[in-house]
Symmetry: C2
């Protein structure tokens, strides 16, 4: 394998382009109505050629899907207190706090608006986190609801309020959701 030190490193450059484009999407959505955020505008903000963006992501919908998948993965630490109720309360309050950020909501709304699979990009990792906490309780020998029932009871109202009603969410209300799920 002939590798010279002058070889550009596609992985490195590629990762930098991706980070710049992702940042541009989040910034522009925070500043503008979604309909004003176009691929050429994103390319300009990211300092890359529009062709690069088109070639890599294909469409605005695919780009938003990629940004949302990345933004909503691994961003919330899964608590491990040894107590399921405590874990779920801390985690659900962290999710609620994230959803209270207008920039997060702007990215989520734009992703939902642009692509039919956008919703899944926003919640797949949340389901994995929930499953991890429930599974740990079962491994301790405790009883835990199924992940779908838990998602319905916790993520359902949390996302519904964030996206549809805009109600401000209080920690006590979030604890009430956990209580209703576990009793």
């Amino acid at each position: 394998m002939a590798v010279t030190t002058n070889t550009t490193r596609p992985g490195g450059r590629s990762a930098r382009v991706r980070a710049a484009v992702h940042r541009a999407v989040e910034e522009l959505l925070a500043e503008n109505p979604a309909e004003a955020v176009t691929l050429p505008l994103i390319a300009t903000r990211a300092g890359v050629h529009p062709t690069t963006v088109y070639r890599r992501w294909g469409s605005l919908a695919d780009l938003l899907n990629d940004v949302a998948t990345s933004r909503f993965s691994g961003d919330i630490v899964v608590p491990d207190t040894g107590d399921l109720r405590e874990d779920l309360e801390r985690w659900a309050i962290a999710v609620a706090t994230d959803l209270a950020d207008p920039d997060v909501l702007a990215l989520m709304r734009a992703t939902l608006g642009a692509c039919p699979e956008g919703g899944s990009a926003c919640v797949t990792d949340r389901h994995a986190q929930l499953e991890a906490m429930l599974e740990r309780e079962r491994a301790r020998g405790g009883a835990a609801p199924g992940v779908e029932a838990a998602a319905d009871a916790l993520l359902g109202p949390l996302y519904y309020r964030a996206v549809f009603t805009g109600q401000v969410v209080e920690p006590d209300w979030v604890r009430g959701l956990v209580r209703a799920l576990l009793t």
Copy 2:
């Protein structure tokens, strides 16, 4: 008041334009990705001048908000069986059926994507319908949960699944949500 029979009737024409534009929005969103549905395209499909659309609605976001408010109002009949559980089950299954329609979801997603108040356009009438059923139970002397708790428990999971997970919803699952709310 000098009224001649030749006077154009602005209310009549205005209502026809509104209906044609609303229909054009729903049709185009059912056929195209949301990002392809623009005001000029809507005007062409509705057979009206783009200026008419711009003057009346101002922006695509405002137009989508208007279409969603109209589409999600009065479309579901509120049951009145004399039994709260039965009413809620029938109504929640009707909401679930509506949300299973891909064209309804396309309109909802586009509205969420285009305008920050889009969520409210999709659910304000649902809250009013829920409140009507709960209020009727109270008027009969029965106990009923508050409308917010009912919305969290029923609309939360229903809209969450429709928008975020795309899971197919079964009537038995919907009845389970009502049971969990009322016990």
